[in-house]
Symmetry: C2
Subunit: 298 residues, 2 copies
Amino acid sequence: MITDFSDRLRSHALAVETRLAALVDGELGASPARRLVEAMRYGLLGPGKRLRPFLVIESSALFGIPLEAALDTAAALECVHAYSLVHDDLPAMDDDDIRRGRPTVHKAYNEATAILAGDGLLTFAFEILARIENRVDARIKLELILELARASGAMGMAGGQMLDLEAEGSPLSAAEIARLQFLKTGRLITFACEAGAILSQATPLQRAALLGYGTAIGSAFQISDDLLDAEGDPAEMGKATAKDAPAGKATLVALLGTEGARTALARRVSEAEDFLTIFGPRAAILNETAHYMTRRQA
Amino acid sequence: MITDFSDRLRSHALAVETRLAALVDGELGASPARRLVEAMRYGLLGPGKRLRPFLVIESSALFGIPLEAALDTAAALECVHAYSLVHDDLPAMDDDDIRRGRPTVHKAYNEATAILAGDGLLTFAFEILARIENRVDARIKLELILELARASGAMGMAGGQMLDLEAEGSPLSAAEIARLQFLKTGRLITFACEAGAILSQATPLQRAALLGYGTAIGSAFQISDDLLDAEGDPAEMGKATAKDAPAGKATLVALLGTEGARTALARRVSEAEDFLTIFGPRAAILNETAHYMTRRQA
């Protein structure tokens, strides 16, 4: 099962990367700002697990939607994720030099190019969703755009990053940390999980179950990320670790300790499983994805 | 006529500002990242002519579309314009401290907040277009989103800003300057002018005429901007002037001299007039807008 899952993760990642490269080349290849497009490609197509696209594809597969029909939504979401990493790594933000084992975009290019590359990737996400050429209904595309914008903007990921910057050095409660992390990390993951329900026009109950599942695994993902920062090997992670504690970052690991955080993580995975019960055995892969959070190494 | 035009510009600006404030309060007012939303508001609602929204409203009025039905498209475009100013002013970009007579966003807040506020405004533009609640057809909304994304991204405005940064200190030809400025400034203006044609599903000829008109006034606007930088009064402009020449910025004023630039500006206005002839007297306001480029003071 574990091997199956890892193979599937890698295989979807490859499909998404191939599609992203084709979209960038096809839509932006003629841009006279060649260095900008190169920096966008660099930020977008470095090594990565493509977890969010994976969730778009698998939440769609739950309703019988083939990979090809979910691929552009997955690609658009990965553009938003990549933009957020490029901007978060900037000196004025988290000031990171290494990402996925390579220099960050502002190190490989420069700061101005990194700001514009992030802007370009964010914009490109909406271009991809608006141009999907298959038989997806226009109202479904609009719903994807609206939900992705809400998940990414001041009410979502960008708002979470702001709260995270403001929180450095100030003590937050467990509830405040959970809210911050739900916005910063969770919202893109819930979008990924809801995407299948939107694309298939699922029932409100099915969509609510996927939202609950996404919320639970988003939280599990963040806790496992914080555990990896506290305990992980920088070489395996491809980025600096043990950064959170000295920076006074608000994490559940700092608040509950390693063991407490592991317990919270296990509870999240169990919640995620519960939300999937209405789908029966069709949800086996999503179930496996929840368990993956407890054993990922990078 | 001049008074009529100025009144109309101010009246539309007020309608757009009122709508923007309502959209921000309504959609983002509940964000826990209050300081981020405040910075977005600051960047969005400072003094401004709202020329791009004006063009959306007037290109729509050309086809009988009432102001209310064009207002959200106008508001979305202004969000993109505002985001571009916030990011362009950053230290790593044009490094400006004053904009519209007030401290720029990174001066009034800080750099990280300014980066996130720009990101939030760009994202909000697409949220506004996707959520338009009136009877606009879903396919029309998607076309607006696609065109706005293309006008703003690596093939448009962001690409132009990249070329502008790369060009500092290196001599460009008149054709290269024109291409750079078409991307950096022209594309949002052509979007504004085409928006009316998209909203009204105008004929291809009508849309092409508005594209030509937008290209001509976009160029006229940029030349008048460069003339104001060379000759304008910083107090009236609300920002630093005489910045281009010391920075080695590629402008037509630097290449052709003040008189040569004035001649080019007059030619652009005349081209804009030509494109409007197919619309007859209905295009009087758009005609007046073209002439406004030759006499604006800020």
